[in-house]
Symmetry: C2
Subunit: 324 residues, 2 copies
């Protein structure tokens, strides 16, 4: 099991500086906002995205203030979208602690999310790199379009691998690519270097989302959190998608029809979860991630100093093996 701590160890002091910077930028003279933000900062999550910014920057230079500003911008933008997601999903818990909308209310949570977005933008501006500022602007658009595409496909019951990969490219991989691009631009990497690390980051992002989607097919008591949420919202992700695309499977037509039913009940969700598991849907998703990791390794092998990319490759292991 690859722990995130061992990956972090190579950039530990930089991560400390990053979190000091994020805290300083979020504090205001508004005591309500500060209380909200303090409680939020204590549960700050895994910070995989800023870690990727720094690990990419490290491939071609030092972790300067410019790199930290870029990393802070992306982390803040990511957190803004989580805060807004919790409002729209009416989620009461994230990372085991109450969400801002649960602790306070929707109004405060939307505003705190907006505050995070503008703080992100200010960090991007502080890099003084037009390329990095543009990356952050484009990213915001891709993230919201990806989420809306997903809702649209769920409503229209689109079942194709192409649509699935387009969505996870937009809503998840685009953020990981932005991490690589911003980190590389901040240290003045050349175009070829940027392109290679962007591809590695894209594969990381796709794996991250596929792994996340797999959780939805577990039996609830196996993971200690509710599963089947995607199916409940009409979202058909890779494990089920794969088996539904195989017309030779028993009960295929019946299951496809069930998957396209509006507002699935718990019993139907359990049937679809089991159908995906029993017919190799989860195995296929794992095989897809393994192929992506190999593809990334091939790209890394062409870098000037492949050994230095070791922590980046370890993130694949961490993502694929993680329990939650």
């Amino acid at each position: 099991m690859t722990s995130l701590d061992s990956i972090k160890s190579v950039i530990e002091p930089d991560l400390v500086r990053l979190n000091q910077m994020i805290r300083a930028q979020l504090l205001s003279d508004n005591s309500l906002m500060d209380t909200v933000i303090e409680s939020y900062l204590t549960t700050k999550g895994k910070q995989i995205r800023p870690i990727i910014v720094m690990l990419c920057a490290r491939m071609y230079g030092d972790i300067t203030d410019c790199v930290l500003n870029a990393a802070a911008a992306i982390e803040l933008l990511h957190n803004a979208s989580l805060i807004h997601d919790d409002v729209v999903d009416d989620s009461k818990l994230r990372r085991g602690t109450p969400t801002i909308n649960a602790l306070w209310d929707n109004r405060i949570a939307v505003l705190v999310g907006d505050f995070f977005v503008s703080t992100a933008l200010q960090r991007a501006i502080a890099t003084d790199h037009t390329a990095i500022i543009s990356i952050i602007g484009r990213l915001g658009k891709l993230l919201s379009l990806g989420e809306i595409d997903q809702i649209y496909n769920a409503r229209t019951h689109t079942v194709t691998e192409e649509a699935y990969f387009k969505i996870i490219d937009f809503k998840t991989a685009s953020l990981f690519v932005a991490c690589a691009q911003a980190g590389c631009h901040a240290v003045g990497a050349d175009e070829q270097g940027i392109a290679k690390l962007s591809e590695v980051a894209r594969l990381l992002g796709l794996c991250f989302q596929i792994r996340d989607d797999i959780f939805d097919y577990y039996e609830p008591d196996k993971v200690g959190k509710p599963t089947g949420n995607d199916l409940r919202e009409g979202k058909i992700t890779l494990p089920l998608l794969h088996v539904l695309l195989d017309e030779s499977l028993p009960q295929h037509d019946e299951m496809l029809q069930l998957a396209r039913t509006e507002e699935l009940d718990d019993a139907s969700i359990a049937i679809l979860q089991a159908y995906a598991r029993d017919n190799g849907g989860i195995d296929y998703a794992y095989a897809t991630m393994d192929a992506m990791r190999r593809e990334a390794a091939e790209v890394v092998a062409t870098l000037p100093d492949p050994a230095k990319a070791e922590p980046l490759m370890q993130i694949f292991d961490y993502i694929i093996e993680r329990d939650l």
Copy 2:
């Protein structure tokens, strides 16, 4: 009665170009997003903010693409905050037509708001002016802080003119100031020119919010829309604030206590509205706006070409006299 149309007439072709630009930037290859945005664009509101950007730019130069990009950025950011406001307030109507959250749902509305924010950012970046990009970044922060300040003061029942003016400075005037600054920067105005038009715009913004706040004290059947909403949320605005600060008024202590009651009922709201009206609270708010208009006129008189600022001064008349 000064109509907005007569003010707009001097920049009519530029406004057409602006709206073409906004439309083009918002369209995507996502049909759901496009449907949402098309219906939104048909009810696009008064566009006072981009008009101010253009009228300010016009004082010192031509209305170039750079000016239009700056105006589009601010208009999009403003609309993003309206879309998010409608979600948090659960408003079903805006400008007489159904809101995005009413037509679709909260999830789509939050995402469309986020999409507007990133489109705004991209327009700011397209100006290629660091100053304008920074203005947009700072603005987002001020807007969310202003809203949160207001919620905080409503909860703590703060009753001071200082707190009131700080809030309306942040949540409304800051946007108007950003309009002047962005418009001026886009045409390369000098620091003194920027400072003067920023002050005029700040006064415009304060008047705009004071006028908006006055509506809340009307009897509901007089304006054709519900009133007392601010009071219902615990927000004490200028007309009531002024009378509550005058300890010599009859029933003063009783009314102050009532105003600080949690979750006011309709009867109490009607009592407070009448108390503000009957004791000159609304007259005081009008007098405050008049003083601001005179102050702005004095600043305008020191500009190189005061006559050219006539449309800008007419916005004061429009704002102060407007019915809705």
